[in-house]
Subunit: 347 residues, 4 copies
C-alpha cells in the first residue's frame, strides 16, 4: 500500500510500504479517511528531528486521523465494522504504573504515531487498539474527527486547569494549539478568553469565535490589558501555548493571586522563571503532555455544537498531492490553521 514516507530530512515520497501488523485481540483495522498535518510532522520534514527524537530511518508521517472500521479483533465489543472513528495516536502499556494511575500519557513506554521510530498513519489502513479508537457521532464529519487530536491537547489543558465556571482565561499564542486551547477553555467553563499573539492574521481567526478577545502584543501590553479587563485582579488562568520564553514575566503579572498557569508550549530552551513572583501570588502551575481520557469528551462537545472546529480547516489535499500539502504547511502561512489530506480518495 502507498504511504507518505519521510525518507530523511527534507525528503518526502509517496510510495509503497508493507501492510500494517496483523489484527490482534482488542484491535480494530481502520481504513484511513482523513489525516491532518501537525506542526510536529512539518518539523520532522524540515529538521529531521524534534529534540531527542531523530529520524534515523524512513518513517510514515501523520497522527491526526479519522477513518472507518473494516475489521475487529477478538474481544472488541464497543466498535463494529462500518463505524466511523477517530484515533488516539499514543498507545501506552495499559498495565504500567502511570497507566494504572489514569495518566497513561506519561507512561515512559508509550508509543506514538509518527514519532521515531514509530510509523504514522498517512497510509490507507492501520491497525489500532479499540480502546484508543473512538466512534464519531453522526453529526461529526471525518474532517472534524481528524481534528479531534489537536483539539484534545486543548481539552487536556482545560481539564488540568480545573476551570471554575465563569473564569477569565488568557491564552498566550494564537497558533493552532493556542486556538484549540482557547476553544476548550471556553467550552470548559470560561466566560471569556483573551488570546495574545504577534500575528494579526492568527488573531483574526481566533477572534472569529464569540468569547475570544484578541490581544495584539505588538500594540498592547498583555499584562496591562488583562489587569484592565479584570479590575486589576488578574486572570484566573493563563495558558502558555507559544513556547516563547519572553512571555513569562507578563504571565506572572497577568495571573491573579491564587491563579493558575498552564504550560502547553515547548520553549526552545530553559526559561528564566521568577519563582519569587509566582510564590508571592501563590500560583499553581500545571504542565500538559499530549492528553489522556479526553477524546470521548471532545467528541461530545463537537457533536453537541458547543465547539466548532470547522472554521479551522484551511485546506484539504488529495492523497496524491500529499507532498504538496506538506510544502504548503512548511510555508507557515499565518492564515493557515489546519491542513488535511484526504487519504481515502474513493470516499
Amino acid at each position: 500500500m502507498k504511504a507518505l514516507v519521510l525518507e530523511r530530512q527534507g525528503a518526502l515520497t509517496l510510495r509503497d510500504v508493507p501492510p500494517p501488523r496483523s489484527l490482534g485481540p482488542g484491535d480494530v483495522r481502520i481504513r484511513v479517511h482523513t489525516v491532518g498535518i501537525c506542526g510536529s510532522d512539518v518539523h520532522y520534514f524540515q529538521h529531521g528531528r524534534i529534540g531527542d527524537y531523530v529520524v534515523h530511518a524512513p518513517m510514515v508521517l501523520g497522527h491526526e486521523g479519522a477513518g472507518i472500521v473494516v475489521d475487529v479483533g477478538l474481544g472488541v465489543t464497543g466498535l463494529k465494522v462500518g463505524d466511523r472513528v477517530c484515533m488516539e495516536p499514543g498507545i501506552p502499556d495499559p498495565s504500567s504504573r502511570a497507566a494504572k494511575l489514569g495518566r497513561y500519557n506519561v507512561d515512559p513506554a508509550v508509543t506514538f504515531w509518527a514519532t521515531p521510530p514509530v510509523h504514522g498513519i498517512l497510509v490507507p489502513e492501520v491497525v489500532h487498539p479499540a480502546a484508543y479508537t473512538y466512534r464519531l457521532p453522526d453529526k461529526v464529519s471525518f474532517a472534524e474527527g481528524a481534528m479531534v487530536e489537536p483539539f484534545a491537547v486543548g481539552m487536556h489543558a482545560a481539564a488540568r486547569a480545573r476551570i471554575a465556571p465563569g473564569d477569565t482565561a488568557v491564552v498566550v499564542g494564537a497558533g493552532t494549539i493556542g486556538i484549540m486551547v482557547a476553544l476548550a477553555a471556553l467550552a470548559g467553563g470560561c466566560a471569556r478568553v483573551l488570546i495574545a499573539d504577534l500575528s494579526a492574521d492568527k488573531l483574526a481567526i481566533a477572534a472569529g469565535y464569540a468569547g475570544i478577545v484578541p490581544v495584539n502584543v505588538t500594540e498592547s501590553d498583555l499584562a496591562d490589558t488583562v489587569l484592565a479587563a479584570t479590575d486589576g485582579w488578574g486572570a484566573d488562568i493563563v495558558f502558555e501555548a507559544s513556547g516563547a520564553p519572553s512571555v513569562w514575566d507578563a504571565m506572572l503579572c497577568a495571573v491573579r493571586p491564587g491563579g493558575a498557569l498552564i504550560l502547553v508550549g515547548l520553549p526552545p530552551g530553559p526559561v528564566a522563571f521568577d519563582v519569587n513572583a509566582a510564590i508571592a501570588k501563590e500560583i499553581r502551575i500545571e504542565t500538559v503532555f499530549r492528553y489522556a481520557n479526553v477524546f470521548d469528551r471532545a467528541l461530545q462537545l463537537v457533536a453537541a455544537g458547543r465547539v466548532d472546529l470547522k472554521p479551522l480547516l484551511s485546506a484539504t489535499f488529495p492523497f496524491a498531492r500529499a507532498v504538496e500539502a506538506f510544502e504548503r504547511a512548511s510555508e507557515g502561512r499565518p492564515s493557515d490553521v489546519k491542513l488535511q489530506i484526504l487519504v481515502d480518495e474513493d470516499a
Copy 2:
C-alpha cells in the same frame, strides 16, 4: 419607607417600615431597583415557616435584588455612587472559621435576607457590605442582575461538581433551580444536560436552550434514557434539584462508575439511600448550600452572553402590585419560571 411585609402566615401588606441601618465602614447604600420572588419567599407566605425558620414577627420578604449605589461607607474602594449592582444576600462573619476557609456560606453565624428574623429587601433602600455587592457589567440589565442570585445556586452546584470539559450531566427537576443548574452546568463545561421532570411545560422551557435535552419521566424511564444516551456507561454528573425522595434509585443507576451526584434540592424528609449501590460505583456526593464566591463569575458569564437568563423572566410587577405578584407566584403555574417586582417605579 414602604416595604412588602409578611405580617404573619398568609398576610402580606405593603406598608411603612423604618429606614435601613446606618451606613458603616465597608458598607454601601443601595436604591433597590428590581427584586425577584423566590420559592422560599412564597413558602414563608404560604406556610409561615421553612423547617426550623419560623416567622414569629413581621418580616420584609425578598432577597434576589439589583439596584443602584447611592452612598458608600468608609474604606469602600471597589464601588462608587451610581454603580448598578446586584447583591449577595448572606452576610457571614468574615473572620469566622468557615469564612477563613473560603466557605463563608456555611458559617453558622451567617445572616440571610428574608430568613427569620432577618428582613429582606422588598424595600426602596438597603445598606449592605460592599464585599457582597457586585457591579453589573454594562450589558447586564437590572432584571438579569436580580436573577444572579438564583443562578448563583446553579453556579455553585456546577463549581462543586468539578465538571470536566465535555461531561454529560443529568439534572433531576426542571423547576427554577433545576434550570439554573442546567444552565450553569452547560456554561461550566458540560457538553449536554439531560433534564428530567414530570411537567411538560417546565421541560419545554428548559428545552428551549441548546444543549438541554428534556426527559419527561411520565413517558420515559430516566435511568434507561441516560444509559442509552451514554452507551450504557452513565452520566458523569447527576444533579438532584427536585427534592423528590423517589428519584434516588434512578440517580444511582444513571450515574457512571466513578461519577458524581450533586445534591441541591431539599427533600421533605430523610431519603432512602442505597449506600451499597453508591459504593459499588464509588460515586462522590457533593452537597450545595446556597453559594460562595460565584456572583462575580456568574456576572461574567451573563455579560459574555454565555448564559442567557432573559427567557426565564415570566412577568414583572410594579411595586404597588407586589401582593398580586405573590398571589401569582403562589399559584405555581408550571410555565412561570421567575416573577420579579420592580421596586423603583421611577426607574
Copy 3:
C-alpha cells in the same frame, strides 16, 4: 494440589483442585505463603452468598495473600524469581474505560479472588498479573504482606478522604476494617482519630495505638463526644466503617461545616439519609469500593514503620487446620482482628 474449597454454604473441605492457569505474558507464578481470612470469606462460608454474589459451585476461598515468585512470564521486568510479594486480588480489564481513568477498581469487568465464580488463593500456587503483584520490602514479613489487602481498604478510604495534615477524624466501627481505616487515617495525616464501637474489646485493641481515641457508644454519645473534642466545630472527616444504618444522624451531627463523610461499610439495606442536614453543612460524601493504586504506598508505610499491622494478627493456623481457622473466624470473637493461614507449611 490441595485447596480450601467451599463446596457449598457451610461445607469447607481441604481437597485436590486443578493447577492454576498457565503462565501468560505479564504474569507471575507465586507459591502462596500466607493467606488471611476476610469477613467476606466467612460470610460465604456461613451464608453461601453476599448480596447478588452466590456460591453456585465449589469455590476456593481466600484473597489476602503473600508468597514467593517462582516463575515469571514474558515481558515481566519488575519482578523476578525469589521475590517475596503480596497480591492485589482484583484484576480489571486494563483497557476498560474505568481503568483508563485510573479507577480500575470500578471497572465492571473486574474479576476478584474468592468472589463467585472466581476462585480464591487458599491453594499452594497461583498465577497472577505482575502488574497487580507487589514486592515486599525486606522489613515486611509474609504475615504483614498478607495484611496489606485489608489495610489497602483503609488506605484507599484515607486517599479518597483528601485529609489535610492535622485533621481530626472519626471512624465509626472498630472491626478489622474500622481499625485499618483508623491506622491509614493517622498515617495519612490526621492528628487524631476517634473510633466508635459498642465492643469494649474491639475498642481496647484500637486504643492500643497512639493517636486513636476510643469512644464506647454504649457509654457516651458519639456526636457530643466529637463536638466536645473539637470546641463545638466537629470532625473534619467521618469514616463510616460499621455498616450500621443507625449511625447516620450522629455522623451528620459530628462532622464539621464543610467536612467530609467517607462511606466504607456496607449496610444491610437502604439507610435513612437526612439530606437537609448534609446540605446545611455542605458536606462532601465519598464512597470507597475496595481500592486502587494503594498497595505500593501501603507497603511503604509498613516498611517505614509508620504503620504497625503486627498487633492485629490474632492467630495463625497451619494449612492442615484451615477448616478450624474458619470455624474460629465464624465465632466472631471480639478480640480477634485477623486470623491467618500458613499455606506453605514448609516455609
Copy 4:
C-alpha cells in the same frame, strides 16, 4: 514598654516604645511570653531590607510568638483571659477577594508583623485579632507555641502538596524551613522523606527524626539517590526549600511522572527552568506563600505528639540579652535550628 528595635541596618536596641493600639472589637491583648528569631528578622538586621521591603524607619522585630491573653475585646467568644496562645502574624482584610476565597495569605492588603513598616512582637504586649490567635493545648509549651509559625510554613506546603498517604517525598534544603517541611510532610502522610543539603550538621539534625533520610549532595547525586530509592520511578513530591537555583534539573529528574514540585524557598533571582522536562513528565508545581488555615491543625499535630518540635530549639535567651541572641543568629551556625527569646522574664 521595652522593645527590641531595629533602628536601621545593623543597629538593634532594646528601648522604650509606645504601647500597642487600643483593644478593638474582635481583638485580644496578649502578654508576650516567647518569640523565636526567624531568618527574615536576621536578614533585616543584616541587610536592612528583603527585596522591596526596606527598613526606612525604626521597626520592632519578631513575628514567631506565644503568650497569654490578658484582655479580650467586644464579641470575642473563643478566647478568654488567661488562655495560653500563639499568634498568626499576618492580618488580612477579611472581606477581600482573596480572603473570601479562603486564601487570605495572598490578599494584597495583608499586614505582617516585622515586615516594614509594620512592627513586630519583641515587646511585652500586643493587640491582635482573636481570629488569628490560637489557644495552645495543655500539652504544648510556650516554646513549642512560638515554633508553630515556622512549622506552619511546612504545614501549608504539605497541604498544598496534596500528599497521598504513603507517598515518598524529597525536601531540598535542610535549613529550618526545610526541616519544618519534612516534618509536616511526614505528619501529613508521607511514608518517608529524603532531605538533601550540603551541610552534614544540618542533615544530622534532620536525620534524628524517624522517617527522614539524609542525602548529602556533596557525596551523592540527589536524582540518582532518589531514583535508586524508588525503583527508578521517582519521588511523588519534591519540595524546594533551599532557594538554590542550581537544584532545578535534579528536582525535575527526581520527581516521578505525574508528580509534584512544591516551591517554598525564595531564590536570589530567576531560575533556569527546563519547561520541556516538566512537561514530559506532566508535573504539577505548587507555590507556597506563608500559610493560611493551618495554625489550628499544626497545634493538633504537636499536641498529639505526632510532630515533635522540641529538638529544634537550639537555645533560649532572656529578653535582656535579645541583641546577643541576634548576634548568635547572625553567625548562622549550622547546628542552630531555632533560637528563641524569653520576653516575659517573670514567667
